[in-house]
Symmetry: C2
Subunit: 169 residues, 2 copies
């Protein structure tokens, strides 16, 4: 399905590069692929752009917010992204029950780095605007880090973030 | 040429509807087009995602920052976007000399709304982190608004934002 989309994109790129064939001398740079807000974490999901926007949506939709800190040139981020994007349960839950945000740059909110700034790092924020520092991964020194093998733990943590909302609000 | 484009679009629509034909019962939602960071303001440009990120790049690259506030369902924003994306001088200057950010959600920084929050609205920020409230458009009641016919004024304002940098830093 994703492959289908990719090939459509490729057709598009091919089309657009042949249709508007400009004078080669005039073109300095290679054609760039437009940046996506998903950055590969789920092209079919609706991503918030900024933390402020995400908080607004979390509050107004009464949904928990999931914030993913990552870097394009970090191999741990890349490998986590791959399993995240391919995991149907995660994608479905993220799509239906969460406000989601992925960031390659830290925010000014220190609550989003309870044990430091590192990537990949996933924090949940309750619609009451409380950072869920209690929802952690497997590693004592980097409590909000996940490896690809932790993907089911992440799914379970997403379910915890949802339960909090229902029982305590 | 327009007809050509239209038929390409039709082909695309046809392609996307036949290629990824899923079991109708299983699929709840239509296939979404991935959101782009450019949001149509220049797919070939490199956009910052957040204001914090943009400020960081402005300072570290010593380039002025241009922040465009807009909304997807605002016809004034849409018509300005069209001329902005099609103006080669603007696109070239934005690409080479500016850090650029487009936002559909306000930041917490009040300096970015010197005369209120409205769209479309374009603010410049000097690499010294100073919001250039002096670089305004044509309208006294909405000083940072631009209409499509103001596109050359915007270009000239971009040049002003660059001059400041060179002469005063």
């Amino acid at each position: 399905m994703l492959k289908g989309l990719l090939s459509v994109l490729l057709v598009l790129v091919a089309l657009s590069s042949t249709m508007g064939k400009p004078d080669k001398a005039a073109v300095k740079k290679e054609k760039r692929v437009p940046q996506t807000l998903s950055r590969g974490w789920g092209d079919q999901l609706i991503w918030a752009q900024t933390y402020e926007e995400a908080l607004f949506w979390a509050r107004s939709k009464n949904k928990p917010l999931m914030v993913i800190f990552h870097l394009e040139d970090c191999p741990h981020s890349q490998s986590l992204k791959k399993v995240f994007a391919e995991d149907q349960d995660i994608q479905k839950l993220a799509d239906e029950e969460f406000v989601i945000l992925n960031l390659v740059y830290e925010t000014t909110d220190k609550h989003l780095s309870p044990d430091g700034q590192y990537v990949p790092r996933i924090l949940f924020v309750d619609p009451s605007m409380t950072v869920r520092a209690d929802i952690t991964g497997r590693y004592a020194n980097r409590m909000y880090a996940y490896e690809p093998s932790d993907i089911k733990l992440l799914l379970s943590n997403m379910q915890r973030a949802m339960k909090f909302l229902k029982t305590e609000l």
